[in-house]
């Protein structure tokens, strides 16, 4: 097994039934821009508008849906620089420092991931955005100062080229586009 999930996938485990899965599969592509988007989903799923709304609401409460709303594209809006900043945090400090770093709005991801020694010693991954590289570096300094990270090893990986960016597709058989 190549991908080893050492932790439960969802702490507050919500059991998704077939109707939830069908709904998830449709809403990952976004709501239609029309008067009654939930009713339109309902027509495709043979659900009432009320059922669609209450199921989405439950998925949000269960944190299956992390965020529900307008999904913007940073790059197109002038936030053209982003860096993946990776930190080597002592294991016993991750649960303290992770939430500290995750609270900034220019930090759009803050994940603990496994180290892959010796090639890869970093266990905390943050995605930090800015209007340009200078702005990103300024944000990293702010983060390090606020959370007390000065002694810790980190690397800044700027993106130099975007080959592909779109929402995830969860329910589709393996294949090539």
């Amino acid at each position: 097994m190549k991908v080893n999930f050492r932790h439960p996938r969802l702490p507050e485990q919500l059991v998704l039934d077939a109707r939830d899965m069908a709904l998830v599969s449709l809403i990952q592509h976004g709501l239609t821009l029309s008067t009654s988007p939930y009713a339109e989903l309902g027509r495709q799923l043979e659900m009432t508008e009320d059922e669609v709304i209450s199921r989405i609401s439950n998925l949000i409460d269960a944190k299956v849906i992390k965020r529900f709303g307008v999904v913007v594209r940073h790059h197109e809006l002038g936030y053209r620089a982003n860096a993946m900043v990776v930190w080597n945090i002592p294991d016993d400090r991750v649960s303290e420092l992770g939430p500290c770093m995750g609270q900034f709005d220019y930090v759009t991801l803050c994940y603990r991931r496994p180290r892959r020694l010796p090639a890869w010693p970093y266990n905390l991954f943050t995605m930090i955005h800015g209007q340009d590289r200078h702005d990103v570096l300024h944000n990293i300094q702010g983060l390090a100062a606020h959370c007390g990270l000065d002694e810790l090893a980190f690397e800044v990986l700027f993106s130099t080229r975007r080959f592909k960016q779109r929402g995830a597709i969860y329910h589709k058989s393996a294949g090539k586009e």
Partner: protein
Amino acid sequence: MHRVNTDMEQFSSYQLSDLERRLLNDFQHGFPLVPQPYQKIADDLDVTEEIVISTLENLQQQGFISRVGAVFRANSIGASTLAAMAVPESQLEQVAAMISGYSEVNHNYQRDHDFNLWFVLTASDEQTLNAVLDDIEQRSGLPVMYLPMEEDFHIDLGFNLTWT
């Protein structure tokens, strides 16, 4: 109406109106779960539903919005992982294109590092994910470093856009 240029606006000579800015910034989370959500937004912004819908359509056409909808927590449904490869410069273009070709790959970036290609894979289950990882290794002849998320510390309230 007060208008300020962002870098992007100067670049594309597209100027965002106040209404466009509010639609981009204020509804990234907590989107109305009511039968007519765009009408609710229109009421909040003191415009018509028609204007809200046509403005969102235009923002989507311009590429500023990818969609109006859900961002799912990683691994809450399906299985996903970040993966990285150290690809020789001469093969980078070709390997990157090969990886972008998988429907399971939703992000694929070149980054300044020995590990110079970084991508995110998402599939309906771990088995599919592993099959794709194996396939990529086989086709490229290069090892893939896979880094699944173990814990999420970020509370996603969207991205606060500031225009300077």
